[in-house]
Symmetry: C2
């Protein structure tokens, strides 16, 4: 293994270990020696890569932010309907929060009183949801009487709630749970004309071979489409 590759692997292992220790012990009690031991590297190697525990927290947050960006970019790929983008991104975000320790730790670090103002992770998600709702309003896809700001507020709050409640009870993050959220919300948020085309359980897999741009973000329903048939929205009341 060349030197650079080994350094990158060590850095990756340290970020994973830090996220796991922050999640189990909390950020403040987490010790650097526990993190280096968990990563299987020496204290010296940890200090070579990260000057402090705060630097490790920054790296965890940056990695989580990159994942959120991948999720939102991927949701927009080839998807014209902005509300469906938000539905798809929400499914992907919750699914990843259930099994990606770095993403989970990134959001939990963002909630700490001491780091709340520094971290942009929640803001990044909020801005993307707001931009999507602005596009939906611009294209006339929102229900009459619902502004982009009011629609986005409900979705940002509900997804923050799912994220936090999912930290204690992972069933909040399941695909059926997120689907039922959208079954309640979409008939209120989407205009009648476009509602029938929206899929609360997330977009079905695209035709042809699976996309390979983001192999780390393999979509469960794309990998095993037969396991979970898409649930259509119920008609508006």
């Amino acid at each position: 293994m060349v030197k650079q590759e080994r350094a990158a692997r060590t850095r990756h292992a340290l970020i994973q270990a830090a996220a796991a220790v922050f999640a189990e012990d909390g950020f403040t009690p987490a010790s650097l020696s526990t993190i280096s031991r968990r990563a299987g590297v020496s204290n010296g190697a940890l200090h070579f890569h990260f000057a402090s525990k705060h630097a490790l927290a920054e790296a965890v947050t940056a990695e989580a932010a990159r994942t959120v960006r991948c999720i939102t970019d991927r949701a927009q790929e080839g998807q014209a309907h902005s509300l469906q983008c938000v539905v798809d991104a929400t499914h992907e975000l919750m699914s990843r929060l259930a099994d990606d320790i770095v993403l989970r730790a990134g959001f939990e670090l963002a909630a700490l009183p001491a780091r709340r103002r520094e971290s942009s992770l929640r803001t990044q998600w909020q801005h993307w949801v707001e931009d999507s709702f602005r596009r939906a309003e611009h294209s006339g896809s929102l229900a009459h009487g619902v502004s982009w700001a009011d629609g986005a507020r409900v979705v940002v709050a509900a997804t923050a709630g799912f994220e936090v409640l999912g930290g204690g009870d992972v069933s909040w993050l399941s695909r059926p749970s997120v689907t039922r959220l959208w079954e309640v919300l979409l008939p209120r948020l989407a205009g009648r004309a476009g509602l029938e085309a929206l899929v609360c359980a997330g977009s079905p897999p695209p035709p042809g071979p699976p996309a390979r741009e983001h192999p780390a973000l393999e979509h469960p329903s794309r990998a095993h489409p037969a396991q979970e048939p898409p649930v259509q929205t119920r008609p508006a009341q």
Copy 2:
């Protein structure tokens, strides 16, 4: 001052000081000497009342749970419509989260990985919302096609989101912000027959002299009804 009264005051001051220090420093870094200094009592007095920092956290959580119970009891007093009870309780909960340091600390302690399973504060709120939605379904007040479980899930998630996001940006907790949440949700959750009677901004003050049962929970719009006229729900789409 008699001895018992003095002891109760010291205990109260210690719980307030602990909540403030937990909120500012985080639970783990918070030191008992900082808490006793902030409460204006000796370390000995602190240890007389609380054997450990965990005992203080338990007391903060119990006090927060009592406040949540007062809020939900009060919302149900004389209010026949279960969905209006939930609207009113949500306004009161968010308003109190903005200025009651013990309630805020109670919810933040409940979110800590180490205490997540012990604390019943979020569960207490969730169960009350679920019971209210069950009553609404039983009385035929929910919109056709919306189950009590799905309605409650959205409200529990959205209120958890408001609580967490409000920790970083207090504008989430304002009455207009919570009102706009209900302007989106109620036309989807409530049956058409009862929708017109529901007030997204919270119930108007009852006739006659203001109730005195829970003076600590004075409702801003009851105290100054002229400042914020109730905003009616928009008609369903």
